[in-house]
């Protein structure tokens, strides 16, 4: 039976894990994702899941256990964030290169130094070329829904690619919210049986997994891998639609909020999109024609669809919760701007880095940027392409 439960983001992920009951869970606790691992451990202790629960001695080994387990032929998940994800970095590429559909819940957190435990997207953005699908969540409900869909997306035989499901550290991981928890059996049925591909445990087949490629094969194998994530968009779309039919909440690549007649647009992901919606409502009641585009899927990047949605705008501000030192703008900005390049008709586009290390972003900050966008639209002049919000300079 579908029920309303008061859960924080970590508990929402753990609740989905209980319902999916993956074959192996291997995870190392790290703030702010620790409660995911603790809750799963308690589920195991109470007999609520049949998963093998492994506590490796580091995140590097956690991902290595996941890789061994997934290659063996079953459904595997982990959870981490920040330094934990950074320590996994080497193995992230290997999971993707071996085409293992591991699902990882990431409580997004800043990277050291300076050490900081709060939410930003430096961790997953740093891993944006690791070959993993990346899905970001605005709130606990989305974290729960995205996590369930992640298995269907990653395990699709044409995709076979690991998936990150991001939820903002503390802001979502530790905030209580009333969420719709779907019926156990229905969730199980939605996720379906795991279909192993070349499982090591089928010892009659004597597989060699992970051999060395020299200059003669590496490039082709990498191309094959890239094809997997390139095959993901129709699967992400179909799974999001089916989820909507089954559970009443449909998902696509991004959410458009009050974009119908918008001339100005703010692009922002994850929890800050919720705050931005309030700002948009206030601006709309002041008669401003402004909307929000909230990317949900960052990898594969839905460049055509985003360009289509933004090309008629007069001015767009992309908000990034991570930085790319020395680059021409932060990660989301460079993707969005590049997506628009081929359109003759395209908006002025600016970038704001916000919220590093969990720094607050408020309605007033979005309104401040809206004013700047208005000015850019009026004058056609961009004074500052790249800047910061709520920062003492």
């Amino acid at each position: 039976m579908s029920t309303l439960k008061t859960l924080n983001g970590n508990q929402s992920i753990a609740e989905a894990v209980r319902q999916i009951d993956p074959d192996v869970v291997a995870a190392y606790p790290i703030t702010p994702s620790t409660a995911i691992v603790e809750t799963i451990a308690k589920f195991k202790a109470d007999g609520l899941i049949t998963s093998e629960f492994v506590c490796p001695e580091s995140e590097h080994s956690a991902m290595s256990v996941c890789i061994g387990a997934s290659s063996a032929g079953g459904r595997v998940m982990t959870a981490t964030g920040s330094q934990g994800l950074a320590l996994m970095w080497e193995m992230l590429y290997i999971a993707a290169g071996l085409r293992l559909p591991i699902v990882a819940a990431i409580a997004n957190r800043a990277l050291s130094a300076p050490i900081n435990i709060h939410g930003d997207h430096s961790d997953t953005m740093g891993a944006r070329d690791s070959g993993w699908i990346q899905i970001y969540s605005e709130n606990c409900q989305e974290a729960y829904d995205n996590f369930i869909q992640a298995f269907r997306i990653g395990e699709d035989l044409k995709v076979r690619t690991p998936v990150f499901v991001g939820l903002d550290g503390f802001i979502i991981s530790h905030s209580l919210e009333v969420i719709q928890v779907e019926d156990d059996a229905k969730v199980k049925k939605f996720v379906g049986e795991y279909k192993p591909v070349y499982p090591l445990l089928d010892t009659s087949r004597k597989m060699t997994v992970g051999p060395i490629d020299f200059t003669d094969y590496y490039f082709e194998h990498k191309r094959n891998q890239i094809e997997g994530i390139e095959n993901a968009p129709p699967v992400i779309e179909a799974v999001g639609k089916e989820f909507g039919q089954k559970f009443g909440r449909e998902y696509g690549f991004f959410e458009e909020y009050r974009m119908d007649d918008a001339e100005l647009c703010i692009v922002v992901m994850s929890s800050a999109a919720g705050t931005c919606k309030d700002a948009i409502d206030e601006l709309r009641s002041d008669g401003k024609r402004i909307g929000l585009l909230k990317p949900r899927v960052f990898r594969p990047f839905p460049h055509e669809k985003i360009a289509e949605a933004l090309k008629k705008m007069k001015a767009v501000a992309v908000f990034d919760r991570s930085s790319s030192p020395g680059a021409f703008g932060a990660p989301l900005f460079t993707e969005v701007r590049s997506a628009l390049y081929d359109h003759k008709e395209r908006p002025h586009i600016v970038n704001y880095v916000y919220g590093l290390g969990g720094r607050d972003i408020k309605v007033e900050h979005f309104k401040e940027v809206a004013l700047k966008l208005e000015k850019i639209a009026e004058t056609g002049k961009v004074e500052e392409i790249y800047g910061y919000i709520n920062l003492r300079e």
């Binding site: 492994v54 290997i94 090591l200 020299f214």
Partner: protein, 308 residues
Amino acid sequence: MAKLKDLAAMEDRLVAGHGMCLGCGIPLIFRIVLRATEDPLIIANATGCLEVCTTIFPRTSWNVSWIHSAFENAAATIAGVESMYKALKNKGRIPKDKKIKFLGVGGDGGTYDIGLQALSGAMERGHDIVYVCYDNNAYANTGGQRSSATPLGASATTSPEGIKSPGKLQRKKDLTKILVAHNIPYVAQASPNRWQDLYKKAQKAFETEGPAFLNILCLCPTEWKCDESQGIRLAQTAVDTCVWPLYEVENGKYKINYLPKEKKPVLEWIKPQGRFRHLFKEENAWVLEKYQKQVDEDWEELNKLAKL
């Protein structure tokens, strides 16, 4: 006792065609170890000589299920495979009576050094796995850099001898002791010159319920700078000098498996190897003395432990 004739008749799980060096101890060791179980086997191999030389795509020398993921994590990778086996057995997706053995493999680089943490973790968690370290005393795959298993005084490319240095300044790490400290059911040191002993230890390791660890001295004529045809004799010298004592620790109980009739001086181990050549310079005499003293002390300690 195993008969060589019977072992020879068994199907090879590591077959010919690999690219390992002339005189290399690795294939020798693994053709013995892999015969020590007839159950289906899955191997996780750390990056290193064995991995690189046996799996150059699209060819493989492995007639058994095998996975390589990275350098420092063979123990964690095989722990993952074993965990999935347990999970699928519990869930009824693998028949209850299906037996599979799980083997993690690494050189001294992947085991003593970069993989020590993952190995320690897997052993502590108690996975039902065997881990075999082939210790050839160097990072041989990348051209002979020092490892923590490189002996005192050996010249390696990152601990080269020179007018200001007698080669490696530190003694070899005692990894076997570290594994004993994990209180796992079975830990042993072996050498391919005593193949019966090696075979028996591998059998015991595979039969052990829970984690088992084998540390095997592995000849490396390329990095030891010695005659390829003399490798096995050199391994014999290693055990006769007590540089590499053969012993096992079963449920905490020490047993020495080979007592040299006459304990030979370490010099006999050192002489045939080019990596020690500079130790015969007058100014390096202290290194020889120190090496001998360490071997004597370790041997004495081992004998005490075996008498407990």
